[in-house]
């Protein structure tokens, strides 16, 4: 498996006038994997994905898709791509089936239209004008068109935004099926659960840069675990331990926080060791740790924590090789 990745990006940049939306992004996507791009609104996900889709030229860096420049050599790669934009339109006066058949007529290797409409649960809406579809149904028609050409590389820009929970799960199943069949997927989403379900790797973007990459487990593991408890004496009264009284904790991140009700909060990179130390400390002092809650970080925490750490050096956990363009 030493073949060149399907998507290979180094130092990619994109500017709109004077504003630079993508500021030196590195990303590889290998055959058969799903990479999820996460990031807050305006982080640059769509701007970046459009570079990879070949819809716009990069203003710096290199972008290769299937070994080609997707913008300048678009004709050579476009037959292998399936693209679901964050927003694209339909002609409202065409029916669902007419829309799909039109699209199929432009593809070099279309799958049967009925199969694809069935896969997104729109077969019973085939003769309805697109203008009268609901938002979620339109989104599923979008997905149908993106997968109609049996793509090798599928781009999904927020594919499940606006979908009800059931349709969302159906979409996940469809994407999982395509992954199983060997399709490679680059997806953006605001739903962390979606990334956890589908992604082999995630990349978190912030202000035009990728600030974290790795598997969900990697990214989460880099985030400290949290321990919370209310400290009480054996009479049941809440006590407020002075910070100096607390034991030395090997993985402690930042200072522990104790509020007036005796609630202790701390973050640690060595949950098991520090939890044991804390329990032994309480035991020796005959203290009770009520409401004890110790938990590994979630993807959501890792994601939210970025806001705080964004500017600091060391937050950059990806190789920061910016192309000297």
């Amino acid at each position: 498996m030493t073949s060149e990745p399907i998507v290979h990006v180094r130092g990619a940049r994109r500017r709109y006038g004077t504003f630079e939306a993508v500021r030196g992004v590195d990303l590889d996507v290998h055959r058969g994997e799903l990479v999820a791009l996460l990031g807050t609104n305006g982080a640059g996900k769509t701007s970046f994905v459009e570079l990879v889709e070949g819809l716009a030229p990069a203003s710096g860096g290199t972008v290769r898709v299937l070994g080609h420049d997707p913008y300048r050599e678009r004709r050579r790669v476009v037959g292998s791509l399936g693209i679901m934009l964050q927003s694209a339109g339909f002609s409202g006066d065409l029916t669902v089936a007419e829309t799909a058949r039109t699209w199929a007529g432009t593809l070099s290797r279309p799958r049967p239209v009925a199969d694809v409409l069935g896969a997104v649960g729109l077969e019973h809406r085939a003769d309805v004008r697109v203008a009268s579809l609901s938002g979620g149904e339109k989104r599923r028609l979008d997905l149908a068109l993106a997968t109609l050409g049996d793509p090798e590389l599928l781009f999904l820009d927020e594919p499940t935004t606006g979908l009800d929970p059931e349709s969302r799960r159906a979409t996940w199943a469809l994407v999982q099926g395509m992954l199983d069949a060997g399709t490679t997927v680059l997806l953006t989403t605001h739903y962390l659960e979606e990334a956890e379900q589908l992604a082999d790797r995630i990349a978190i973007m912030q202000a035009g840069r990728v600030v974290r990459t790795g598997s969900v487990a990697d990214v989460v593991a880099a985030e400290p675990a949290r321990v919370e408890a209310v400290v009480r004496n054996d009479g049941g009264r809440a006590v407020t331990p002075a910070l100096a009284d607390l034991p030395a904790l090997a993985g402690l991140v930042g200072a522990p926080d104790v509020d007036r009700t005796g609630r202790l909060r701390l973050r640690t990179t060595r949950l098991q060791d520090d939890l044991l130390t804390l329990l032994q400390w309480a035991d020796a002092r005959r203290l009770r740790l009520d409401d004890l809650d110790a938990r590994a970080a979630s993807l959501e925490q890792a994601f939210l924590a970025l806001d705080d750490t964004a500017g600091t050096p060391g937050a950059q956990r990806t190789t920061d090789t910016e192309a000297a363009a």
Partner: protein, 281 residues
Amino acid sequence: MTTTTTTTTTPARRRATPGTGGGARRVAALARAELRLLVRNRTALFNALALPPMTVGLFAALGVVGDGAPAAAGAVLLNLLTFMALAFVVYYNLTVAFVARREELVLKRYLVGECSRAEILVGTAVPAVVVALAQTLLGIVAVSVFLTPPAFVNPLLMVVAVLGGAAMLTALAAATSGLSRTVESAQLTTLPLLVVAIPFAGLFGAPGASSGVLDTIGTFTPLRPITDLMLLGAGGIDGDGQVVTFAETFGAAALPAAVLAAWTVVGVLAARRWMRWEPRR
């Protein structure tokens, strides 16, 4: 998946890159959809089918047309019909269609697929061009039945006038759409070409009657070659209003054909410069 080789899903699934062969198929797919949309849009359909004949009927009834021989009147009326179809169905309607497709993000969708930009433009334009051709054919039948039929000296030039005019106006419509923010503003942005060029287009009567500096300038305006080629082809009438032979029509057609080609090039360059594929943000 890592086990034995299944020939259908080898790592590099080979597939044909979209070539010129598929181009006709892609254009046909877009054109079919566009034709459906035209049929379902009552206003556009009325404009396309009824407006040009009604205009011609009006002018014929007013007697503004045809100050020459009866055969010339047939050629002039026929040209008027073709001209109206090209100016309003191709240029005006297409400008509106390009703006509408852009604003509803349909152009952007087509752009992510396998179609090239030229294919998208042509596919969108086909129904309008078909309507213009059909109007011309109907006009030929109409003037042959109801009037003294023109001699149809050089039908090839009539084809050049219709198809060349359609190509030029499609390109100009694409360019004009880029200068129109909304469908409504397309009513204004299409005015300059229509208002400035129509008076120079030599529509009402055989040319030559109005020779002079203005007429010389008019020869080089974009819509004029359509009239010049139509009158030459249908009636054998040259730029001085003289009736010429089949052989002579070719020489007389050289200048208008060159003007038409030049404006088509201008249209293509302008479209490349101004045409936009997604709404401005």
